[in-house]
Amino acid sequence: MSHDTLVQPVTAESPLPDPRRAATKRRYTVWSIRVLLVVAVLGSWEYSASTFLDPFFYSKPSLVWQKLVDWFTVGTSQGSIWEQIEVTLEEALGGFVLGAIAGVVLGILLGRSRLLSDICAPFIKAANAVPRIVLASLFVIWFGLGMSSKIATAFVLVFFAVFFNAFQGAREVDRNLVDNARILGASRTQVLLTIVVPSATSWILASLHSAFGFALIGAVVGEFTGADKGLGLLINHSQGTFDAAGIYAGMIVITVLALLAEWGLSALEKRLLKWRPPAAGNEMQI
């Protein structure tokens, strides 16, 4: 046996692929297939709606695009599109912030107190079983057509999503960590703030992702039920005038908002959870 075959060091000309090059190539493939898929779907929709489907009911991509351009250049039937976006975002954000704070505080309190959670458990389960979307109608009666009724709808949707995660997170705190902190001299409040809250953070952050989506749904449904401004109203109005393209266009605007919020929350999560080991598969190796 010759030496050449025995010794196989990793030399420059060895056939090991450069991992960075491989990753770039992979990304390229993934993205080109994605773009292809979108083009195929939109293309066949456009084609069908131009031949055998009635564009009055199903609309088509070119009409939706036209509508979007219209909204952003000329304005909507309800006035400037930016104003509608602003109103809906404000409602969603208001409900999100209030709901998240209430959910986190109550979840952690109940999660740490056996007595409180025993007392409240049946009420919370019952409240969670209520079809919450229906509350939107009630809130319009209570709070009127303005923003507060939409904030209330978003609030109830967000609250339960966050509450259950915060509750679970506060329950699953490692007993050793709590004992250790107490030995080191922590008071009850210090244990809560320095051990329980950080332990529950990953649970809470996980729920915030879906919670912002819920907040948007709450705001839009609220506007649908009765409003004088907002994207939900715009969609409702399009429905009233059988304007399918308008409904699609409204959906697209809302989707973009949700994606932007998701991106912001992911960034926040990454910052707050930088102490966690990276997920398996993408460790920081050389």
Partner: protein, 267 residues
């Protein structure tokens, strides 16, 4: 001298998972004087950790009494430091902030706490790792963080539950020497639980042998080796071997009892 730590016929029972009652510690009486280093050995599962939890005030005794500084333990007594058997450092804090936790809880400003912490991080040999998070450290390094975190509070009573069992032999030797050095100036009373009889003799003024479950004190063996000790050197002396043989005779029976019971349970 008045004992700093005293257990009087302390008994601890737990509800076992099958619904019965499991006695972990039974009728245990022991004392530790101020500045004394007591090493505790006993078969696995006999109730050593439970004994420490009685002294620390984390668990109340089911019967009998635990006294620290002459008064019964209610809640966590002042001046107690406890290094747990399991990892208990905060994964979301850097090494430095983990070590600074104790002083922070006790009302030091952030700057004071960090200055103290930095000193202790150095002393346990972790300088350069201040900003690392626990998941970036090895098991042995995490143990050293826990050690610094406990010692930074300058406890008068130090409870240690197998603190070095996760370390490799060389690091363990270094840490043992370091512990003796840190302790010698402090006047702290120490209860040091270990599986390793050599370690117990090398470190302790006295070695307590526990019975197989439920734990009581089977025997108390003084270790008249002179201090300061070098743990690597002292192991090789004739006195050491003699003490080792004497204690091992006592410990072996308990280990065998525990093993037979374990085998019986499995069968």
């Amino acid at each position: 001298m008045d004992p700093v730590i005293e257990l009087r016929q302390a008994t601890k029972r737990f509800r076992s998972s099958s619904g019965g009652v499991h006695t972990a510690v039974s009728d245990l009486t022991m004392t530790v004087a101020a500045g004394e280093f007591v090493a505790v050995v006993g078969p696995t599962g006999c109730g050593k950790s439970t004994t420490l939890s009685l002294v620390s005030g984390l668990e109340p005794p089911s019967a009998g009494e635990a006294l620290v500084g002459g008064s019964p333990v209610r809640g966590i007594p002042d001046g107690v430091g406890y290094m747990f058997q399991q990892d208990a450092i905060m994964p979301w804090r850097s090494v430095l902030d983990n070590v600074a936790a104790g002083p922070r809880y006790r009302g030091a400003t952030k700057a004071e706490a960090r200055a103290k912490a930095r000193d202790w991080v150095d002393r346990v040999g972790l300088s350069g790792f201040e900003r690392y998070y626990p998941h970036q450290l090895s098991g042995g390094m995490r143990k050293r963080v826990a050690l610094a975190q406990t010692l930074v509070n300058e406890p008068r009573i130090l409870l240690m539950d197998e603190p070095f069992s996760a370390l490799d032999v060389q690091t363990r030797g270094l840490m043992q020497d370091e512990l003796l050095r840190l302790w010698s100036g402090s006047g702290a009373a120490v209860i040091f639980v270990t599986h390793d009889l050599e370690e117990a003799i090398a470190l302790g003024d006295r070695v307590l042998v526990m019975t197989a479950s439920p734990a009581t004190v089977k025997g108390s063996f003084p270790v008249p080796l002179p201090r300061p000790r070098d743990v690597e050197e002292v192991r090789l002396t004739a006195e050491f071997l003699e003490i080792y043989r004497e204690i091992w005779d006592s410990l072996r029976e308990e280990v065998e009892t525990a093993r037979e019971r374990g085998a019986a349970n499995v069968a």
